[in-house]
Symmetry: C2
Subunit: 340 residues, 2 copies
């Protein structure tokens, strides 16, 4: 049996002839649909200008692997691009490593790899090395994907969770909660008039837009697992500041708000995959908002809060939809297993 | 429950407070026993001199996760260091990403992370970023580890599977088959007078020794999954050359040879984790052998074959223990699932 039809077998993880067949006839053509010459050695070589390198890794175990608005391949590529972008770096190259459960349809593997390849190409970031392992049935779940990435740090951007200062404002580039609700809706079998789609997207060009506009960036983060609340608490604690958020200013799709009510979820702790928060000096708020809104991924950008003063414990206060105030905390326990 | 006792729960993969607790109280202290200040941002920054970067990734799914001579943490660190080293690069930094099955003992996680941290420290390579995901029971197997690595390419080493030339000789730095037999012995419950231990080791300083001795390196490879035979066939095909190996010259532990007989394994396709083959011009054979033997990981180094001439199909011939000759091929099918 060629791997072109059928399913992935344990032998495809052997490192021998079957592995090579799967790699050469399925994975590489799918990751690189343009047929660009492929490096087949174990390590890729990159020629980079001197400077600071940014290096990150993330594994993706999302269930289901295909969901409204995306799949695990695209998610893994965009997610690691975003980790680089949030660190202030320009993404350069990615690795993609698959852990496949025996029995996965080769068509599904091809679809995931193709989606990863297309996302990388759309983002202008090269997939330069990879790895494939196969585990027996019942020792994995269809496919897990690790992406690691390297990027070039911008000299003039120095972001850190410890850099928020009183007087800063907090911006978000659009609606919150879309990814988590898209995944949960599939799992719970919820039907909406128009299905909620994951917001998975690569945010590096949005960061370019902010940097090019001359915005002084104190911190950038993509609020994925744990959502907006967890990220804000982390930053407040690391910076020793108090943060006040206004939920009424946070853009939200009405379908997401409705689903959160039905599912009993707090949208502030629901995962996003194409959203970023930016913390900038109050004086740069308008400039940052304008730069975000001029970018396709920031049309609905809004200022959602401010850093109000020092706070040893890092207190984060939320003004809710109905105008009440409460202190928010990190996600406790497990809200949404395998959301990314 | 603190994660210090007990087991890993799904909530430890939430991205919220439990994730942070596991990270700060178990994983980071274990990876960095010396208490070096730890970067907690999503992406690490590295200051590198200008030059060519080498970038690689590998996932480890070995079963069992603890085995004679090592464990999955050490294996993952050494394996990725070796991929960088074999590419001719000096390893600089690693990422470590865990996919944990719910229910893993926190003690086992700590042991794996500690072992990874110690291996990295012993090799002089920094673990600079990481990720932790938790999957439900029955969707993983204890722990899977992905390590990615970056290194600095040496300007004067240009190895490739396509670079073997007639007249070259093939060296190996020691006994073959140790890792695969160590794993299989545990799985099959074989008892030896002295147990066969995995040869897991970081080979980058052995490469330093070869480069420092002025050996002209045409190709270097660590014969892991698929073993020596698979690597030799790959090189013969990529270079368009015929290779002749002499099994009688290949160093082998008698216990490994015995176990291969009992288990019906061909030692040439059994995985190694601390072995490398080097392909060098015949004129450099003595210099290379001397450099290897002067290094602790090369005491039993030997010349095991030669490139005899051009061959469009990449023919590899083996002179066996009893003096017979046969053509060898890549590993077919699956010999040893989850060997690394």
């Amino acid at each position: 049996m060629t791997p072109r039809d059928g399913i992935v077998l344990l032998g495809h993880g052997s490192g021998g002839a079957m592995s090579r067949d799967l790699l050469e006839n399925v994975i590489i053509p799918a990751l690189h649909e343009d047929g660009a010459a492929q490096q087949m050695e174990d390590a890729a070589r990159l020629t980079l200008p001197s400077g600071q390198l940014s290096f990150t890794t993330d594994s993706y175990v999302v269930d289901p692997i295909f969901f409204p608005g995306g799949d695990i391949g695209e998610l893994a590529v965009n997610g690691t691009i975003n980790d680089l972008a949030m660190s202030g770096a320009r993404p350069v190259a990615l690795s993609v490593a698959f852990i496949i459960e025996e029995g996965l349809a080769v068509d599904d593997l091809r679809r995931v790899a193709r989606s990863a390849g297309r996302a990388a190409k759309a983002a202008g970031v090269a997939i330069v090395c990879g790895d494939t392992k196969v585990v027996p049935k019942g020792r994995g779940d269809k496919i897990y994907v690790n992406t690691s990435g390297v990027g070039l740090a911008r000299g003039n951007v120095n972001v850190s969770a410890a850099n928020a200062r009183p007087g800063d404002v907090i911006l978000v580039n659009g609606t919150i909660g879309d990814h988590g609700v898209a995944i949960m809706s599939v799992r719970e079998g919820l039907a909406f008039e128009s299905p909620v789609k994951s917001d998975t997207a690569a945010l590096h060009t949005l960061v370019d837009a902010l940097a090019d506009a001359g915005v002084e960036l104190h911190e950038m983060r993509d609020p994925t697992r744990g959502g907006l609340a967890t990220v804000m608490v982390e930053i407040a604690q690391a910076s020793g500041v108090a943060i006040r958020l206004d939920e009424r200013q946070a853009p939200m799709d009405p379908a997401v708000a409705g689903a959160c009510e039905i599912l009993g979820l707090d949208p502030l702790v629901v995962a996003n995959e194409g959203k970023m928060i930016a913390i900038v000096p109050g004086a740069d708020a308008d400039k940052a908002l304008k730069a975000m809104r001029a970018h396709p991924l920031g049309v609905k950008a809004a200022v959602i809060g401010e850093v109000t003063g020092p706070s040893a414990k890092g207190k984060v206060t939320l003004t809710s939809m109905v105008g009440g105030e409460r202190v928010i905390s990190m996600l406790q326990g497990e809200l949404l297993p395998r959301i990314c």
